[in-house]
Subunit: 195 residues, 4 copies
C-alpha cells in the first residue's frame, strides 16, 4: 500500500472528528440571547479542539510526506493513533459542559489523558517510520528528519504537564490546553510563512 491510501482514510477521520465537534455545541435552555452567551465554554472548547486537530493534521501530513512506503504495523499504529483523534470530541464535550462546575477536574483529566495519549502515539508512529530510515523516502533530508523528531518529542510532556495541572486547578489545566493550541497558531503566524 502506498502512503496515498493511508492519507485518504486519515484525512477522513481528521475531517469527521473535527466536524463532529459541533454536535457538542447544543442549544441552551431558557431565553436564547442570554443562553448563547452563557455557553461560551462550548465555543472555546470547540475552537481549541478544532485547531488542535487541525494542527495535528498538518503535522501528520508532514510525516507522511517523508515516507515512501507503509507496512502493516505502521498502518495499525496509525489506526490506533486515529482512534485517539476520533475520541477527542468526547472529552471536549465534558470539558465544555463541566468547566465551571463540579466535574471540572475529571473532565480536564480526561481531556489531558486523551491529548497526551495522542501525542505519544504520534511519536511512536514517527519513531517507527524514521528509525534507521525504515519507511523513509530515499532522498529524505537527514536534517529535516532530525528536526521533525526533535519538534515532536516535547508534545507528550507538554500535555502531561497540562494534565497534571488539573489536580491543582482544572481551570488552569483548561487554560493550558487553550494556550498550547494558541501557541501553535502564533508560532505559525510568526514563522509559518517560511516553510
Amino acid at each position: 500500500m502506498t502512503p496515498n491510501r493511508l492519507e485518504a482514510f486519515s484525512d477522513g477521520v481528521f475531517a469527521i472528528a473535527a466536524t463532529l465537534l459541533i454536535l457538542n455545541v447544543v442549544e441552551p435552555s431558557g431565553p436564547l440571547g442570554q443562553g448563547l452567551l452563557h455557553i461560551w465554554p462550548s465555543y472555546v472548547a470547540y475552537a481549541v479542539s478544532f485547531v488542535t486537530i487541525g494542527v495535528i493534521w498538518i503535522n501528520h501530513h508532514l510525516v507522511v510526506a517523508q515516507i515512501a512506503k507503509v507496512d502493516r504495523l505502521f498502518l495499525l499504529v496509525n489506526v490506533v493513533f486515529l482512534m485517539l483523534i476520533a475520541f477527542i470530541p468526547f472529552p471536549t464535550h465534558l470539558l465544555a459542559e463541566h468547566l465551571l462546575s463540579n466535574g471540572a477536574q475529571a473532565a480536564a483529566l480526561s481531556y489531558g489523558i486523551t491529548l497526551t495519549g495522542t501525542a505519544i502515539m504520534f511519536n511512536v508512529m514517527w519513531q517507527y517510520a524514521s528509525h534507521g530510515g525504515r519507511l523513509l523516502r530515499e532522498n529524505a533530508n537527514p536534517r529535516v528528519v532530525r528536526g521533525i523528531t526533535l519538534s515532536y518529542l516535547p508534545g507528550p510532556f507538554i500535555y502531561l504537564i497540562a494534565t497534571v495541572a488539573a489536580l491543582v486547578s482544572p481551570q488552569l489545566s483548561a487554560v493550558l490546553y487553550a494556550g498550547i493550541a494558541l501557541f501553535y497558531v502564533l508560532e505559525s503566524s510568526l514563522f509559518g510563512g517560511r516553510a
Copy 2:
C-alpha cells in the same frame, strides 16, 4: 505540502458540515402529516445552509486552483476558515427552531455572525495567498486573480448588512440570508454556463 492534501481535508469538512445539516431536521411531535408541514422553516434553513456551503465550496476550489504551493500559515488560516464552515450547522439549527418565536433575533444574529466571519476568513485566506503572488501558480492570469479579489471582497459587507438587519427584524434578516443564497443560484443559472 501540495494543495491536493489541503483539498482532501477541506472537501471532507465541507461535505460533512453540509451533510450534518440534516440532523437539524427533526421529527415533529403530534400528528405527522401536519407536523411535517409545520416545520417548513427547518427545510428552508436546511436548503439555504446547504446551498451556501456548496457555493463556498465551489469558490474554495476556485482559490485552490490558482495556487501552486501552501505554507504552514496558509494551512492554519484554512483550518480556522473550516472551523467556521463546520460551525454553520449550529446557527442553522437555531434559526430554523426560533424563526417565528422569541429567540429569533439571537438566532438570526448568530447565523449572521458565523457567515460574516466565514466571509472574512475567506478573504484573509485569498489575500494571503495572492498578495504579491505569494502562493500563486507562476502562470496565474493577473486578470483572473484580480477578478477573484473583486468578487470576494463584498461578501463580508453583504453578510454584515444582513446580520445588522436582525436588530430591526430577524425575519427580514433570514429572508436576506436566503436571498443571498438564491442570488448565487440565479447568478450561476444565468452566467454559470460560461465559465
Copy 3:
C-alpha cells in the same frame, strides 16, 4: 475545475449520507431481545436507503466518467442534487418509525417526494451535461450516451408512482420503494458482470 474535485465532494456527501443512516436505528425500550426483533422496519429502511444511495452513487460516477469538464452551473445543479441525497436519512427515519402506525402515509409521501426529487435532479444534471455534448468527453460514445439517457428517464416516473401509491396504502408504497432497490440489486446480479 476538473470533474475530480466534483467527485471528491460528491463521494463525501454520498458516503456520509449513507453512513448517517445508522443513527436512525435506535435502541428499543423494553427487554432488548424482543425489542431488537420488534424494530425490524428500522433494519429494512436502513438497508433499502443504503442500497438506494449506493446505486445512485454508482450511476453518478457513470455520468461523471462521461464528462470532460464542469462549469459553474453544473456544479450548482450537483450541489442541489447532493442536497436531496443528504436529505434521505430524514424520511428514512420517518418511514421506519411510522410504517405500522398512524403517520405511515405522511412518512411514505415524504420518502417518495425526496426520492422523486432526487431522480428528477439526476436527469436535469445529465441532460445539462449531455445536451449537444456540452460537457462530454470528445470521444464519448454516442450509443453509451443515449443508453444512459434512456436508462435514467424512467426513474422519476417510477418513484412518482410509488409515491402516489401511498395515497392508497403507505405499506404498498414502502414495498415498492424496497422493490425498486431490490430490482437494481437483481438487475446488477444478472447483468452487472458484463459492464
Copy 4:
C-alpha cells in the same frame, strides 16, 4: 469505473463508521469522576470496534490493490459490504450499554451477527473478484492471491464461534470479540513489519 473511485467512497464509509463510534460514548449521569470510570465498557467497545474497522479497512485495500477493474456487480457487492460496516456502531452501542446487564445476550448476538455477516460479504467480494482472475491485475501474483484467499476464509467461522458463544455466556462472547481484534494487533506487531 476504476478501483480508485471505489476506494474514495469506501474510505469515506470506513472513516465515518469508525469516527461515529464516539457518539456511543455518552456522558454518564451522577458525579463525573466516578461515572467516567463506571462506563469502561464504552471505552473497550469503542476501541475494539475502531480497531476492527481499521483492520478490515487495511484488508479491503489489500484486495483493491490486486484488482485492475470493477464491474457493476462488484460495486454492488461492495455497497452491501459497506452497509454492514456502517451498521457496526449500532451493535457496538448495544454491547457497551448492556454488557453487564440483562440485555447482554441479545447485544452480544447482534454484534456477532453483524461481524459474521461482514466477514461473509468480505469473502464473497474477494471470491467474485479473484475467481478465474475475473477482476485481477494481469500481473497479480498467484501465490499472493491464494494467500489472501486462505487468510480470509477463516473469518466468518471465527466470528460465528464467538457469536454462538453468546448463547452460553455473552461476556465470554465479548471477550472473544476483543480477543480477535487483539489478535490482529499482535499479529501485525510480530509479523507486520515484513509485508
